[in-house]
């Protein structure tokens, strides 16, 4: 780990990256929370690809949507807050990866699949979801919250004193 230690510039870049992703998540979450009738059903109905049936099934099940909708709205918001503030950064990044992976699988730009809604770019296997997923992986492994973020304080406060036996 010693030779892997990041320089100040490198760590600053990771923190900026973390804030940018966090901002994106936060607004995606808040925008949904403030729309009274927002539902994931529309997005899920558009699902393509190998897992399309699973997502279509979710869209058609009101009981499941009752869980999926708040989970998504609050998930996005809390992950966003976590990333911006550097609070429980690794949990936030890991959850973010999971949620973006779901979005990716909902409409994967695989060969031969196409999305019925117009998109602003051209994608082949890699799209912006996958890029964001990769960026979150960087955030996950660099633990920048303990350098610049609330994790630094939390970590200090919660750290157990090492056992004398080990010393």
């Amino acid at each position: 780990m010693e030779e892997g230690r990041l320089s100040r510039l490198q760590m600053t870049s990771v923190v900026v990256l973390r804030i940018l992703i966090g901002w994106h998540f936060l607004y995606e979450g808040v925008a949904k929370l403030t729309k009274p009738d927002w539902s994931a059903a529309g997005f899920l109905k558009q699902a393509r690809g190998p897992l399309a049936d699973l997502f279509h099934g979710m869209a058609a099940n009101p009981n499941l949507l009752e869980i999926v909708n708040p989970l998504n709205m609050w998930g996005l918001t809390l992950i966003g807050l976590g990333l911006v503030l550097g609070c429980f950064t690794r949990t936030a990044a890991a959850s973010g990866i999971l949620i973006v992976l779901l979005y990716y699988l909902c409409n994967p730009p695989f060969v031969g699949y196409f999305y019925s809604l117009p998109t602003e770019g051209s994608y082949l296997i890699v799209n912006k979801n996958l890029v964001e997923l990769g960026a979150l992986a960087v955030v996950l492994v660099t633990g920048s919250g303990r350098v610049a973020g609330l994790d630094r304080i939390i970590h200090r406060l919660l750290r157990k004193p090492p056992r004398p036996a080990e010393a």
């Binding site: 009981n63 949507l65 911006v84 350098v147 973020g149 010393a167």
Partner: protein
């Protein structure tokens, strides 16, 4: 940043016995990204302000002082009720006072919350009589309940002295529809039936300017139309918001499943021919200037599960109209098993053809001039129709062989009228203008009744498996 951190980390393992305290640097770095959240908050409040302004610009509603306020209640807050509310929120001079729906836990709550967001003080009711008793200053009620409730709701509202906008189909029975016409006459209150194409500017333009004035179609000889809809799953509901069985029973539903999918049940709705067809068959009557003389029809429950569907999922009907200029045969089909080519009405005359629909995307008004018809130059110059696009076979296309018996393709013109508002807004506006005494209804009870007879008889013809003849008095109350 990390350089400083390196130092602090270096310190930690060196002195293992000592628990590190939070120092000033930790606090500064720990909170170093909080300003980003502040920036986010600022951006968010700007964005919210912008959205609010946009919303206000779209809904001048009570803010406008130059129109008399109409106090209105919504009776039936389901999917269609929501569509009407969304359209009404864009109409100035309306004050919402009440929302009535038996699904208190869900639909009623949703519409009440929507209206409260727009600063309307509304009360929620389960029972329409209680609403009429308590809301004394209502001027009008907009009804979007299931068809089998229309007659009861409309008559009670009219008798309580309210003007009524009632969704089509007027009623699921002809007796019900007839009693609504009588109630409107006896109370002297307005009753508009929700065949919203009657107020659609494109339809009005086509009828008044293109068919009546310019006579671009010549003599109309046949009509065809359709509403094809793709297979869709039955409507569900969140289990924890299910209506208790006794309340469902009290309002005429056997189950939550039936409550959500009432359109498919006999005695509650009329099936797709009534839900979809009545909009378009109403246009046949309007544009042809008369009601039909005969109808024959074929239909059945060919596809859906008879346990949860009672009405026909596939219907094909042929009407015969006796118009002053001759017989017109009119075909209509609706199927809920394939959505191809969606919905449109196609009026074919000996000089031209008009394909029209409510939609701006599909069939927003195409006119074809038949090759033998007099030139339309005059109407193009006047701007009644767009300049033509010639439908030529490209010579390069060697595969295409033009048969000598084939007619030359007609020129394609477009109808220059678009509607940017929600589909129901013009019809609702017409109703509220009439309430203020500034307009006459585009679809009063008598017109709605004529339409109901025309459409409900299709189901009768299917059941009877024979051609049914109408008498002129069948359409009168």
């Amino acid at each position: 940043m990390s350089g400083e951190d390196d130092k602090s980390r270096e310190g930690a393992p060196a002195e293992p016995g000592e628990a590190k305290k939070v120092d000033r640097r930790d606090v500064l770095l720990g909170l170093s990204t909080v300003p980003a959240l502040g920036l986010f908050g600022y951006a968010l409040s700007r964005q919210r302000g912008y959205e609010k302004k946009q919303k206000e610009a779209l809904t001048p509603a009570a803010a406008r002082k130059d129109v008399a306020l109409v106090n209105v209640a919504v009776l039936g807050a389901g999917a269609q009720g929501q569509v009407l509310v969304d359209a009404m929120l864009r109409i100035p001079g309306l004050r919402f006072r009440a929302v009535c729906d038996i699904w208190k836990e869900y639909n009623q709550k949703r519409v009440v919350n929507t209206l409260k967001k727009y600063k309307h003080e509304v009360n929620g009711y389960e029972d329409h009589r209680e609403m009429l008793d308590k809301e004394k200053d209502l001027d009008a009620v907009v009804i979007a309940t299931p068809d089998f409730w229309h007659a009861r709701h409309t008559i009670d509202c009219l008798e309580a002295g309210k003007h009524v906008y009632c969704e089509k189909e007027m009623s699921n029975t002809l007796e019900g529809a007839r009693s609504m016409v009588t109630a409107a006459r006896e109370t002297g209150k307005l009753l508009q039936i929700g065949h919203q194409r009657r107020s659609h500017p494109r339809y009005r333009y086509c009828y008044e300017k293109l068919i009546q004035e310019a006579k671009l179609l010549g003599r109309i000889v046949t009509v065809n139309g359709q509403w094809n809809r793709a297979v869709s799953p039955d409507l569900g509901w969140p289990e924890r918001y299910a209506i208790p069985p006794d309340r469902l029973k009290q309002y005429g539903f056997k189950s939550m499943e039936q409550f959500r999918n009432w359109r498919w049940y006999r005695g509650l709705g009329g099936g797709p021919i009534v839900d979809l067809g009545s909009h378009q068959i109403d246009i046949y009557n309007w544009f042809l200037g008369t009601a039909p003389a005969h109808v024959m029809a074929s239909g059945g429950l060919d596809y859906h599960d008879p346990k949860t569907h009672e009405w026909y999922d596939t219907v094909m009907a042929v009407y015969e109209y006796e118009t002053p200029s001759g017989t017109v045969r009119a075909y209509y089909q609706t199927q809920t098993t394939n959505g191809s080519q969606g919905y449109f009405e196609n009026f074919m005359g000996d000089q031209g053809t008009l394909v029209i629909s409510e939609s701006e995307l599909n069939y927003p008004g195409f006119l074809y001039r038949d090759p033998n018809a007099p030139a339309w130059d005059e109407w193009v110059q006047k701007g009644y129709v767009s300049t033509p696009k010639l439908q030529e076979v490209k010579e390069k296309d060697e595969q295409a062989v033009l048969d000598v018996r084939e007619s030359v393709s007609p020129d394609l013109h477009r109808v220059p009228v678009v509607l940017r508002d929600p589909y129901h807004q013009p019809h609702l506006s017409n109703f509220f203008d009439a309430v203020r005494g500034e307009a006459t209804l585009n679809c009063p009870a008598e017109v709605g009744y004529e339409s109901a007879v025309t459409v409900l008889k299709v189901n009768e013809a299917i059941d009877a498996k024979q051609r049914i003849s109408f008498r002129p008095e069948d359409f009168k109350v």
